[in-house]
Each structure stands twice: as C-alpha cells, then as structure tokens.
C-alpha cells in the first residue's frame, strides 16, 4: 500500500511538471501549440522563437523554482518536526522567515545589496541567533530552541515594521508583496543563485534521513544508542536552514507548505523518515507546482502564491485529517 503510494507519487511528479508547462491563461499559447512546438510543426521562425522563449525562459524557470521551493520547505519542515518532536513546527521556526523578510525589506528600502542576498544573510543570521540564544553550556534543549526562535522572530518582525514604517509607499508595496511569496518573478538567474545551497542541503538531509528517526525518539534515547544528540541536532539544523533560507531568498515567505506537506507525507507513507522524508520533498514540490498552476489558471491577474497555498492546502489537509490519522502519536 505504502509502496504503491510512493510509486504513484514519484511517477506523477514528472507528469505534473510536464502539464505545468502547458498551463496558461492566454488563449494563444495553448497546450496544442506547445505540443506542435516540440513536434517541430511550427514552421514560422519568429513564432517558433517566441514560443521557445515563453517555454524555456518564462515557464520553465517558474516551474523549477516552484518545485524546488516546495520541495525545500517540505523537506526541512519534515526534518524539523521530527527533530523538535513537535507537529506544529514549520521550517520558519528559527525565525528564518522574519529574518529574511527584514533582510529583503532592508535591501528594497536602501538598495544596499540584492534582495536575495539580504534575505539569505538575515534568514541565516536569525537561525544562528536562535540557536545560540537557546544554548546553555554545551546543550540546546528543544523547548529553549522553540522559545528562542519565537523571540528572534518577534525581534525581526519588529525591525521589519520599522523599515516598512520608514519606507516610501512604492517601496512599502514592494516589501509587502515580497513577504507574501512570489513565484511570478522567477528567472534562470534566481534559480541558479540558490540551486547549489539547496542541492547541498537536500543531499545532506537525505543522508541524515534515517538518523532523524533516532533523534525523533528524544535526546536520551539517541545518546544511549551511540548518537551525540547535540552534534546531530546541528547536523540537521544546518542543512534545514540552508535550504529554507535559500528558498525564501528566491521566492519570499510561502506559508503552510512546510507545515502540512510533512504531515500528509507521514499519513500516506508512514513515520519512517527513510521513505517519508524524500517523499515529502517530491510531494511538496508537486504540491506547490499544482497550487501555482491553479493560481495562474483561476485568476486573470497574479495573486501572491502564499495566499493560495493556504486556500488550497488547508481544506486538503482537513480532508486527510478526517480520512486518516494524523502522522503523529496520540
């Protein structure tokens, strides 16, 4: 049953990517036009080049961006929920979203550096601050880490408010749009800039996926079987932070995905992170891509993706919650 569900998940992901290439709000670039393009049936060179540009420079970077952002948020949310032994944990728990939003806002307001760089640096700084404020001697308790994440998040939210308050209306609008999540500004340059840290973080988390099972049992249980809980926590927090900050830097703050997809993944594929963590990544990527396709199809204009993830994700989550048990203990 679980194996069949996994096969379906992995088989549908390339299909979703392919279908997403065809999704369009314009009446000119229909799926049949795209199929004709790939079959070499468009003889007019100018039209051929135009369609090629739309497919490869407009749609494909957006599709890849949506997929890797969804995969990153879900994978790190999954790892962090297990590490924190808490179902309410989301990938932004260490204050990454607030830190990144502040960094992006600061760069929008002052033009000191690129928005992506600002978001990445301050997202990372927030996570590091949360970790070190929670540290007592050589130990970091999970409760302290949760609390310090909430505090750091509060501090950066306040700093963001100051920047917004001091910004002119035009820049303020840009800041607000950025914090709501944005996939429509996808470019190859954006994808390239974050691909490497996300790739490194994802491979790292993939290698850690079984050890996360051991950490999810508690510090004492992990130590008694030979894992160093504090070292292992860092070994999960670093790649999780790396993939989340990189994806936030690319696409802004997209909520819900990193919270609900891991639950859905555990409900469908079981608690063993060896199978459910990579499944979360593929599920999250496909999920965000479908949500983005729907958001592009239903509206004549673009609403920030962060709104749609909640509108579509919440009912789906409630449905699964009623149908199956939540992926956590009673």
């Amino acid at each position: 049953m679980k194996k069949a569900a996994l096969v379906i998940l992995y088989a549908t992901a390339p299909l979703i990517i392919l279908i997403s290439l065809m999704v369009s709000t314009t009446s000119e670039i229909t799926p049949s036009v795209i199929i004709s393009y790939f079959c070499g049936n468009i003889t007019d060179m100018a039209t051929h080049n135009l369609i090629g540009t739309i497919i490869f420079d407009v749609r494909l970077p957006r599709i890849i961006l949506a997929f890797i952002v969804g995969a990153s948020l879900s994978m790190s949310g999954h790892a962090l929920q297990a590490l924190f032994r808490n179902p309410l944990v989301e990938p932004y728990i260490l204050g990454i979203s607030s830190g990144a939003a502040f960094g992006a806002a600061l760069c929008i307001a002052t033009a000191l550096a690129s928005i992506q760089l600002g978001a990445f640096c301050f997202g990372f700084i927030a996570a590091i601050m949360s970790y070190f404020f929670a540290r007592e001697g050589n130990r970091v308790s999970i409760v302290s880490l949760l609390l310090s994440g909430v505090l750091i998040s509060g501090i950066f939210t306040a700093l963001l408010a100051i920047v917004q308050f001091l910004s002119d209306p035009f820049r303020l609008q840009t800041i607000v749009h950025w914090t709501m999540g944005n996939l429509h500004t996808a470019t190859w340059a954006k994808v390239r800039s974050s691909a490497l840290p996300i790739f490194i973080g994802a491979i790292w988390l993939f290698l850690m996926r079984w050890r996360i099972n051991v950490l999810a049992l508690g510090d004492e249980e992990a130590a008694s079987v030979g894992l160093h809980p504090e070292r292992e926590k860092i070994l999960v927090l670093i790649p999780a932070t790396l993939v989340v900050t990189s994806s936030v830097a690319m696409a802004g703050v997209i909520g819900m995905v990193g919270l609900i997809v891991p639950h859905m993944s555990r409900m469908l594929f079981g608690s063993d992170n060896k199978a459910s963590l990579p499944a979360s990544a593929v599920f999250g990527g496909s999920f965000l891509l479908v949500v983005d396709d729907l958001s592009r199809t239903f509206m004549a204009f673009e609403l920030p993706i962060g709104i749609f993830t909640i509108v579509i994700g919440a009912p789906l989550f409630f449905y699964l919650l009623k149908k199956t048990r939540l992926g956590m203990g009673a």
Partner: protein, 254 residues
C-alpha cells in the same frame, strides 16, 4: 568485573546526589539496584550508562575508562532502557527496534542491521508486533519492545531504569523472567527495582543505596536491619523457597 566504579561523585546544581560510591558489578549476573526515592539510583545508572558525567571519580567498563570510550564504542558495550519513554511519531515496532542499531549505521540500515533487529524482536518474543505502530501498544508490550531495542544493540551490559514499575503482575513476571534468562545467557543485567521482593526472587547481586552512598553490595542480606536502614522503616522477613521477603512490620510504620 563488567563495571567498576571508583570514588564516584555527582552533583546537580551543587546539590550532591552521588557521594563517593565504590562498586563492582559482577559480569553475566542479574544485579538489582535498590533504595528509596531520591537515593541516587537513577543518577548512578545514568552515570554508568555515560549519559551523565561525574563531578569526580571514575567508571571502568571491562577495564576501559568510560570517559575514554566514544559514544559508538559505549553503545556497543552498554544498552540503556530509560525509566519512561514518551512516543511521539507512530513508528512501526520494527522501525523503532532498528534504531537500537544506530551505533553500527552511517546513513541507512544494512541487511545485517535488519536481521539483528528481527532477531532481537524474536528474542523478546514480540515479533508478532513488528508491523504495529509502537504508539498503540499496551504498557507491557511497549516495555518488551523497548527491551528488544536494547537487545538489537548487541551490548553485553544492559542497564534498566525501573523496568517493571508500571506493569501488571503477568507482564512483570514476563519481563523479569526474560531479564533473568538474559543474565543466564551471558548478559550483565543491572536493573533499578522498587519492589525489593522482586529483587529477592530474581537478582543474584544487589546494590543498596542510601543518600547517594552504598549501604550494601553483594547477595540479598538475610538480616532485616540493613534493609530497614535503607528504607528507614521497620520491616519483618518471610522465608520461602530459600529466598527472603520483606514486608512492613506494622501499618503506618513509615
């Protein structure tokens, strides 16, 4: 000797808990640690498991200093069963037992690890539970599964913190018989027990603690005074099948 403790001290926030313990634990025997609540039993067990670090003093495991062993080396010598485990994720029993193999695994479990976990389930007599979520087990079943996880570690020494405190009589018997069988099979079993009469029936060696110090270490004393001193209450003894059992001398005697 499997474990040798020398002049061991430990304090929580400058409150002394373990105060100069000297102890040797015999190999391949069932040792029970007894004492009142707060006498330092759990702390001593955690110190021996390497989960706490002593303020001063040394612990040797098979003549090797515990402080010099890496976590992996230690996990292959000592298995530890905590007093209470709170399950969070509904791992299947077989997935949970496999986590006992962590010291042998770099990234994901090998076939050998899976085989050892399966053998541990068989040895604990709970292989029929392997596909069940461990969050849905009864207290007795969960304890057997916890023991299977420790067995999957393949450690010759097994430390257990109150393994039967929350169990009913049939499960208590099952767990204690199994621990006794493991000792006969060559494992060194060290268990904290609250019921001295269970210790009397099963333990070959007892360590009695009072206020962080060793009151007695050896076979179960037949005279009542040491046990009375440990529990600080008047007791009387009964003898049955060559064993000594202790009961309070009168009501409200504590």
């Amino acid at each position: 000797m499997s474990i040798a403790v020398h002049n061991l001290h430990f304090a929580y926030h400058e409150q002394p808990i373990v105060q100069g313990i000297n102890l040797t634990i015999p190999s391949k025997k069932f040792t029970a640690i007894l004492g009142k609540n707060g006498s330092g039993k759990s702390t001593l067990l955690k110190l021996m498991a390497g989960l706490l670090h002593p303020t001063s003093g040394t612990i040797h495991i098979f003549d090797k200093p515990l402080s010099k062993l890496s976590l992996k080396e230690r996990a292959r010598l000592i298995g530890y069963l905590p007093q209470r485990h709170v399950p969070t994720f509904p791992f299947l029993v077989e997935e949970f037992v496999l986590t006992g193999r962590a010291s042998y695994i770099f990234s994901t479990p090998s076939k050998t690890d899976k085989r050892q976990a399966h053998l541990a389930l068989q040895r604990a007599g709970v292989q029929h539970l392997q596909k069940r979520p461990y969050t849905e087990l009864s207290g007795g079943e969960l304890q057997m599964v916890m023991i299977a996880r420790v067995l999957a570690q393949e450690a010759p020494i097994i430390l257990l913190d109150e393994p039967v405190t929350h169990l009913d009589l049939p499960h208590t018997e099952r767990v204690m018989t199994m621990l006794s069988d493991l000792a006969h099979a060559g494992f060194t079993i060290i268990a904290i027990l609250h019921d001295i009469n269970i210790a009397s029936r099963y333990a070959e060696h007892v360590v009695m603690l009072k206020e962080g110090k060793v009151l007695h270490s050896g076979t179960m004393p037949h005279d009542v005074t040491t046990v009375e001193d440990m529990y600080e209450m008047p007791l009387k003894t009964y003898h049955l099948s060559g064993k000594t059992f202790f009961v309070p001398r009168e009501k409200n005697a504590y």
